[in-house]
């Protein structure tokens, strides 16, 4: 590898092919890209020279809004990154006073299910309405890496999913998943 072309890497991660679902960003903070201007790229869609020629720089992409050409302001980059040491999917099994009991299934590593009692206070106030028997939540313990230093953190977030309708359940549950993809 070579370090010399690092500024080029930014532009190489621009999505040029509308059918490419890769976010293709070496820098996960800057993915807001649009392909309308990126014409004339080669079939594989990795023609960096063409991109630079179009934009004149490696900075953010432009958008064609009707007759207007817009350069949206760049998003402030994420400066904090959470590194999980362990993640669990939890399921509330009972509530009692200021705590609730839950089963915890590790999302990574050995799938040994554990049981835990968690203080309701550990849950963000506006998430507490989700605490009921059967509710699913995700619990991560890890480090928050910040410019000012590393901080140990625990994050609990309850699942927010629209409920499947009984009709959906009837028609989709038990159906062979791969049958969707039969020709």
């Amino acid at each position: 590898m070579s370090i010399e072309g690092q500024s080029q890497v930014d532009s190489e991660n621009v999505v040029k092919d509308p059918d490419v679902t890769s976010s293709h960003a070496e820098d996960v903070d800057r993915r807001f890209q649009k392909d309308t201007l990126l014409t004339g790229t080669n079939a594989a869609g990795y023609d960096v020279t063409e991109l630079r020629k179009q934009k004149g720089s490696t900075e953010g992409a432009q958008l064609q809004l009707g007759e207007l050409l817009l350069s949206p302001p760049k998003m402030p980059p994420f400066k904090e990154y959470f590194k999980a040491i362990q993640k669990w999917e939890g399921k509330v099994i009972s509530l009692s006073g200021d705590t609730f009991k839950a089963t915890l299934s590790p999302l990574v590593g050995d799938k040994i299910v554990q049981e835990a009692e968690i203080y309701i206070e550990d849950v963000t106030p506006d998430e507490r309405s989700f605490i009921e028997t059967g509710a699913v939540f995700y619990w991560s313990i890890g480090y928050l890496e910040r410019p000012s230093g590393r901080r140990r953190e625990s994050v609990i977030r309850f699942r927010r999913l629209p409920t499947w309708t009984s009709n959906e359940v009837k028609t989709k549950k038990g159906r062979d998943f791969t049958s969707y993809f039969d020709e």
Partner: protein
């Protein structure tokens, strides 16, 4: 020992979307995000052609053909998936053709030596040396067929990290073709099912691929 320094996950949907509806308040109204989160959103733009905003852990970028949500907070990967599943449930008649579940990693390879060894391992230089002076790998993209019986492919991108000195960036694009015929109407349903049923598999696959690539450098 190479270590992941930064990682992220994104979900990309390609289809016909209506960006104007994707205002942070819409996410809150449908209980996809907390009101406190959306109240603090940094809104880049919400327009009939584009919606772009960011909250503490989530970045949302939507244009008419493309929907993209991403996070670099590992603790929110499942929440990211749930948002996509929720939106696809709410907008189940939206034509969606393609979906990508993407994992991105920045590994710190610690030393220049290990960094070069991995580059040489992935793109051997003996054939390039006669053509270029001091050739260096800038962008390697390899695509393979899916390991399951769904339509699509796996595409892996490897580049020098722009974030970490002697780091490598690896992106794994788990690409699903949801419909090939415009008349097919259930792309959103398929996407929702894949996200619900295949998420863990996809996340693990991306992680395993990235680790295997980095480990291959250790073998020299």
């Amino acid at each position: 020992m190479p270590q992941i320094q930064i990682q992220g996950t994104s979900i990309v949907l390609i289809g016909n979307l209506n960006p104007a509806i994707f205002h942070p308040s819409w996410f809150a109204a449908h209980n996809l995000l907390r009101a406190e989160e959306t109240d603090a959103a940094i809104i880049n733009i919400v327009h009939p052609d584009v919606a772009s905003f960011k909250i503490e852990w989530l970045e949302v970028n939507i244009v008419r053909e493309r929907f993209q949500i991403s996070t670099v907070q590992e603790s929110y990967y499942e929440a990211l998936r749930d948002i996509a599943v929720g939106i696809l449930g709410l907008l189940s008649h939206t034509p969606i053709r393609l979906m990508g579940i993407n994992r991105d990693f920045h590994f710190d390879l610690v030393s220049e030596d290990l960094w070069n060894v991995l580059g040489h391992r992935l793109v051997p230089k003996q054939d390039w040396n006669p053509l270029l002076k001091s050739p260096g790998m800038q962008n390697l993209v390899v695509q393979g067929v899916r390991p399951d019986d769904l339509k699509g492919y796996l595409r892996v991108t490897v580049q020098p990290s722009a974030r970490i000195k002697y780091g490598v960036f690896i992106a794994v694009n788990d690409h699903y073709i949801l419909k090939t015929d415009e008349k097919e109407a259930d792309g959103a349903d398929k996407a929702r099912l894949i996200l619900s049923e295949k998420w863990d598999e996809s996340m693990k696959r991306g992680f395993d691929i990235a680790h295997a690539i980095v480990k291959s450098g250790e073998k020299g």
